[in-house]
Symmetry: C2
Subunit: 295 residues, 2 copies
Amino acid sequence: MKPKIAFTGVGRMGANMARRLHDLAYPITAVFDIHRPTAEALAAEIHAAAPATLAEVTAAADVHFTVVTDDAAMRAIFAPQGDSLLAGARNKIFVNCATLSPGIHAEVERAARTAGAATLEACMASSIPQARDGTLYLMCGGDRSAFECVEPVLKDLSASLRYVGETGRAAQVKALVNMVMNIHTAALAEGLGLADALGLDLGLVREVFSQTGAASRVLQTDGEDMQKRDHACFFSAAHAAKDSAIALDLAHQSGLQLPLAEATLAQYRRLVELGLGGLDKSAIAELTFLGRSPR
Amino acid sequence: MKPKIAFTGVGRMGANMARRLHDLAYPITAVFDIHRPTAEALAAEIHAAAPATLAEVTAAADVHFTVVTDDAAMRAIFAPQGDSLLAGARNKIFVNCATLSPGIHAEVERAARTAGAATLEACMASSIPQARDGTLYLMCGGDRSAFECVEPVLKDLSASLRYVGETGRAAQVKALVNMVMNIHTAALAEGLGLADALGLDLGLVREVFSQTGAASRVLQTDGEDMQKRDHACFFSAAHAAKDSAIALDLAHQSGLQLPLAEATLAQYRRLVELGLGGLDKSAIAELTFLGRSPR
């Protein structure tokens, strides 16, 4: 029998994961979002409840997915007192999918244990279409027993599912993936920006890049968007800044200096300061093409 | 009938291109290198002459490949006076394969025209095994007639052959490719260096990178080498520094600031300053792994 499932944080990723599980006939009993109309719209679409409190969400389901924005939001929904997912959480399991600092996952795990609940971090290295199609790349950290408990549901959400170690490990790997991805995005923006300044044909340049040492996944996902200035958001510049900052915090704690990651973070922070943080990460090209720059 | 061919500059790339054409029964009549024993060894291997002067090289062949180190070497072999490939060069064609600044290609084209010779830039976006196997990625710039004249030979050297425009254009595209490739290399070194500092399994991390937004061609070519510290040279750190500098010169001339390319150049310059410029570009990982760093 399929477990009852609830989602807390139903932005683009969370909502599409809920839709995917709804398609597969999982009972999605409750959805919650800090922006209530977002939750209500999704609830109507997939026949879920949209409770006013987190305690009601907890009561409504056995397996809880959380896909919130940042560490602060995570601490708020798992608060030890007041309205919280941890109220009446005994024997519930919380699968935490947001890209957060590794430390917060361990913090939430401890709080959940105190409440008699289990947690699993399930970091997603994919984007919105993969959430909708159930083809996420999922990396999990936590107790293996917690992983095995929700493995069938996670398989229905993913094309690739990996258990990478104790709580916090998946977030570390995810931070690394996004740090490198962000650098590649910044690199592509520089390459295409310079190509454009030289009067080269950007279609030709992208084709050459794709067949040489300049090839990358980011070239496939963001190259044409940079050329066409189509920055409809799949993964926001603000998120890119957040994730690069998480990775750099880990680096600094380890005593490492990573100048490329630093330069990339500076570019994404500049986009955010310019009020462009809500655009897709491809918008970094707005900083590297002559005549586009909002400088 | 196959044209007589000579090579000037028979380092690892030039020598392997010569071997490839020798395998296909092209008459390689002369080879030349500033380091004479290198030329003599190759000459013995492929039954070519190793003349003492550039003028003799010119006289020995119809089609000349040049694969020299840098702009200065290029100016030296195409000097207007003294011993030079341009002595007696009427009706010869020079196919210039080194990664040079775009400006030098135009300069050599003008000098060759004065001498009654034709030139073609044929930039290679590949490495040593591809030179040996005749599977280079070649981008050509110059007069289309010069391109068509040597097209059959170039096809025998390449898996992909492209005419990209007037003289200098191919060098521009090549500089862009290498600029982006170098950034990717620096990015990978940072990602794996941080993964190592965190105690993560680098095999796992590389596998995750390969399936996510962190995927790149450089990950395939350099990832394992960085992990194993195998920096046997395919493309040297010194060359990486040179090529990033060429791209940044173009950027500065265009009024563009490219912070990632700058940070990458600084890393490669540091390797060169540390006396590690002769190692493969993967050696940049020596700067980003704890306990390796020669700082």
